[in-house]
């Protein structure tokens, strides 16, 4: 016991780093964030419910959640495919492609927003093809989904890649020599191994999607009851100096984000367990 304690105390800086970390985090993030719950409590329960269940706000939530969900789903499917191709196959330009995946992390969201909006406008480079099919992309929920697919693209790829790299070839070879088909190997051996990280990537993309603002407001067109997203509702209320209203909408979004965080944490625990069992 004594020995253990002495071992723990060898490294310096516990007090210093604990002080810096908690102070900085509290001042910049935690105390301001707690204002959401203080400010929205000023509305009272009745007032709070009234704000967050008004037709316009409910519609904004619906648009935000639906578009974020569809975008995260698209990203899960294609992210899995991209990760698979990048890990398993070699082809010219692979390194370049691999680097390009992170573009949505590096490119400012407003820049992505204006580029996607003009690309997908009715007469834009890509939009014109959709116009031929009589589909409007920019200024519709479909356009919002396109922006969110762009923003969320790296999440699933970057989470799946290392897991796929770590799956041991021997397991697949064993399955193959026992007569499993390629399809069986994928669905019975590889996919279950990837599932926790796939869900984590999906949740991360979804959480990012419901809060995203910069890339969406340009392509959304922001028509009330049609393409208004929840973060924009907060912005609108703020511009009318309706702080309590803005905060109430934010409180609901925060609760959803926290739920996402909890789910992500649980998923990561699950995947760690998976790894341990694998070993």
């Amino acid at each position: 016991m004594k020995r253990k304690r002495r071992k723990k105390n060898v490294l310096p800086g516990f007090g210093l780093t604990m002080g810096i970390t908690t102070m900085y985090l509290s001042i910049i993030v935690l105390i301001p964030l707690s204002m959401v719950f203080i400010e929205s409590s000023k509305l009272g329960w009745q007032g709070f419910i009234e704000v967050v269940t008004s037709d316009r706000v409910l519609h904004a939530y619906k648009i935000s959640f639906l578009t974020a969900f569809s975008a995260a789903l698209i990203n899960a499917v294609f992210g899995l495919m991209i990760a698979w191709v990048l890990v398993r196959y070699s082809f010219p330009g692979k390194r370049l492609i691999d680097g390009l995946i992170d573009l949505p992390f590096a490119l400012p969201t407003a820049v992505a927003g204006i580029a996607l909006t003009t690309l997908y406008a009715e007469d834009g480079w890509i939009g014109q093809f959709f116009t031929l099919l009589n589909i409007k992309v920019a200024f519709t929920p479909l356009g919002i989904t396109v922006a969110l697919v762009f923003i969320g693209l790296p999440f699933v790829v970057r989470i799946i890649q290392p897991v796929l790299e770590n799956i041991e070839k021997e397991v697949e070879e064993a399955a193959s020599s026992l007569g499993a088909t390629k399809k069986q190997i994928f669905t019975k051996v590889i996919f279950p191994e990837l599932l926790p990280s796939l869900l984590t990537g999906f949740s991360l993309a979804f959480a990012r999607g419901i809060g995203e603002y910069g890339s969406v407001i340009f392509i959304a067109g922001n028509m009330p009851m049609n393409t208004e997203i929840a973060p924009l509702m907060i912005m609108t209320k703020l511009e009318q100096f309706d702080y309590a209203g803005a905060t109430a909408i934010a409180a609901v979004m925060l609760v959803v984000s926290f739920l996402c965080l909890i789910i992500i944490n649980l998923l990561q625990k699950w995947s760690r367990k998976h790894e341990m069992q694998g070993e």
Binding site: F14, L16, Y24, V85, P108, A112, L153, Y213
Partner: protein
């Protein structure tokens, strides 16, 4: 028995070629689909920004990035980045040291709290800072008495950017330092090094690539942050406009070429970020094989 074996062997010889053929075919299809998908979603938008920026010739382009509003926006963005990145770096190193080198209660909670800004919408980040530092907020009256303006001015933009980019450095460092372990540092201390000596000579060389990587990600996000800054800046031209806000104003005024010109500058920075990142990864790979 013997015939069985022969049969099985025959199967074995036959099977790999069948699998290989199938793989080749799926491989081609998957690679093609990936190329198409990434071209449409990543490559075309990136190229398009530069095409649009130069649409009306290089004269318009250079005028757009050298007029006084644009220069003010560039300066403000640089200033915000120069304050934010070092502060978040110090925080990131402290947090990573705390989490990877000590055992204490509430560590898991602290980890989640550090990641919190990633889960919060940037607009909400801006909103809570308005509530906290605004005239009706907790700190507002105090700061206004001191004559310090936070909302609609540079300090507010800096704080908003700090909020949004807070996790980047810590998040990159924690796994690196966890993998490194603390044996080398313990050895340094027990051989009589001071805390600072240990940090500069042992810790820093071990974490430098992860640190650099976290810093360039933090930098990229700090330059590009839009939602939080948009709430808190009040968008006063030439005073509180960062580059992304300047792009928005130009775009909303239908000055598309100018908007894309400023956007192209930020895109160049994004490409530079990705290049540095690829270079760091390539180095790490080389070190591993060497």
């Amino acid at each position: 028995m013997a015939t069985d074996l022969v049969k099985n062997e025959g199967k074995h010889i036959h099977k790999p070629t069948a699998v290989k053929k199938e793989t080749n075919w799926t491989k081609r299809v998957l690679i093609t689909v990936m190329f198409l998908y990434l071209s449409i979603f990543l490559l075309v938008p990136l190229v398009y920004i530069f095409v649009k920026a130069f649409e009306q010739g290089s004269g318009v382009y250079f005028a757009a990035i050298t007029n006084s509003d644009a220069l003010d926006a560039i300066k403000l963005t640089l200033l915000v980045t120069l304050i934010t990145v070092p502060l978040n770096t110090v925080f990131g190193i402290a947090a990573a040291w705390l989490i990877t080198r000590f055992q204490f209660k509430g560590k898991q909670l602290l980890l989640s709290l550090i990641e919190l800004p990633f889960a919060v919408s940037p607009v909400i980040a801006g909103l809570v800072l308005v509530l906290f530092f605004g005239p009706r907020g907790v700190m507002g009256p105090l700061f206004s008495e001191l004559g310090i303006k936070i909302l609609f001015s540079t300090p507010g933009i800096v704080i908003a950017t700090m909020f949004v980019t807070l996790p980047f450095v810590a998040r990159e460092l924690i796994p690196v330092m966890q993998a490194q372990g603390k044996a080398e540092e313990e050895a340094a201390i027990s051989l009589g090094a001071s805390g600072w000596q240990m940090f500069v000579r042992v810790t820093l060389p071990n974490i430098k690539w992860g640190l650099l990587y976290g810093m360039i990600l933090c930098n990229a996000r700090a330059i590009g942050e839009f939602g939080a800054v948009s709430v808190i800046s009040g968008r006063i031209r030439g005073m509180t406009n960062t580059m992304p806000l300047h792009v928005e104003i130009l775009y909303n005024e239908y000055q598309f070429s100018a908007a894309f010109a400023v956007a192209s500058l930020m895109s160049l920075l994004a490409i530079l970020t990705l290049t540095i990142k690829a270079w760091i990864e390539w180095r790490a790979e080389k070190q591993q094989t060497a």
